[in-house]
Symmetry: none
Subunit: 251 residues, 2 copies
Amino acid sequence: MQLMNERRELILEELITVGTVYVSELARKYQVTYETIRKDLSDLEKKGYLVKCHGGATLKQGAIEHPFQIREKENASLKKSIAQKALTLLPDNCSMIIGTGSTTLELAKLLMYRSGFKIFTDSLPVANTLISSENQVFLFGGELRNKSSSVYGGWALSMINEIQVDLCFLGTDGFSNLTGPSSPSSSDAYIDKAIIAHAEKKYILGDYTKFNRKSLYKICDWRDITALITNNLADQAQVAKLEAKTKVILC
Amino acid sequence: MQLMNERRELILEELITVGTVYVSELARKYQVTYETIRKDLSDLEKKGYLVKCHGGATLKQGAIEHPFQIREKENASLKKSIAQKALTLLPDNCSMIIGTGSTTLELAKLLMYRSGFKIFTDSLPVANTLISSENQVFLFGGELRNKSSSVYGGWALSMINEIQVDLCFLGTDGFSNLTGPSSPSSSDAYIDKAIIAHAEKKYILGDYTKFNRKSLYKICDWRDITALITNNLADQAQVAKLEAKTKVILC
DNA sequence: CTAAAATATTGGTAATAATCAGACATGGTT
DNA sequence: AACCATGTCTGATTATTACCAATATTTTAG
């Protein structure tokens, strides 16, 4: 059972966080016909929240600031575009590990509106975000670090060692002058190392600022990484240099 | 039979916790006709607490703080007094496991202002609360259950089996007519069983309402429990009967 | 590039369910 | 009895959504 208003609010909320919604997907999700979803979209369009287009609708710019809904940080939109790119790499029903970081958290927010994935994480915010989604969520066990809001240590490592997933998405503190991504804490680096060893495809998510930063502990070598996903705001020369070492996905 | 005001308060309470209520569901729950429920909703709408719509009603934004959060607060203060009592049982620097539930969460909030403890938990909200405290916090690993916001399953169990702590504090769904506390889910009950087996002193936290409620799965027998901590609002006769089976700490 | 196939949209209709207004029943009170 | 509060019953009205057929658009294949 579902209230019409409730459905429309949820659609709008999804639209605001994800940017685009599809008629077919919404119809499946809410178990109503296409026509019903279209009426919802038409109504929301009339109210000025979105613009309809073939197959779905997109957020109307300027509508985000409406009092009615959650607002997003300016800064987050860069990270969100990276996360959106990462989303396109996911086969249906695949399993994945999502690491700690602000960009990976954006990915988790987008996954809220997807379903059927098996998602492991060492990050408390990622777990908090995904717990009410229609995905199966697993949290690694162990000691909690305040700074990163993530678990680490032997228990987490041994749990990671017991699984093998399709993909992993990790953040990083930066990789300037380094032959791979880095982390500011050795125990986090150990966790990331273990995660990489237990995923088929390994993706690093990092905006352009990461090109000019680095931390003490190297997580791995670029050759261990399937691809880096970053913005096209990154310096062309730096990107070119990196492309010699690993695949770079721009967005 | 039931008073009208009581019913309306309950409806409002449900609305505040859940966000949406349905006319048909409410009518079934309170055994009155749709028209009666509609009158209830119209009345509550007139008072500004909610917005009616086809099929039910949704919470009015901003109304959350007004209506009778008094009762919620009262309830929370009841739980807090229990948690406060539990605090007095803690030796310095001791280790403990804190289970899932609203009362145990109150305990976690109080522990925010203490330091030097080793605290294990299966509850995400408890971990979220304590992560920025000056205690060492450990989270059990495993699959996340949406409803209780806690982890469960083999990974959690095996991690619990690896430790031995000084005390544990568990919530319960109730224990009327039962020879011990109960839980609504079998997997949660397993977790609680394991926790009890790996703590020296075992405390159950439960306000007086738990005397008249129960769930499907018994966690353990009263003789396995060191003490129940509850309010002195509990019925004297019921308390006396329970005291034959285990220690009862009133506050 | 164009025609055909596949897919999406639109508007109208009908069925189901929810709403509303107001009459009516009940049960306790003065 | 008369009164009031509460809840139920009834029939007319309205909202929501599924279904259908006619168009429009996009994609595919030749």
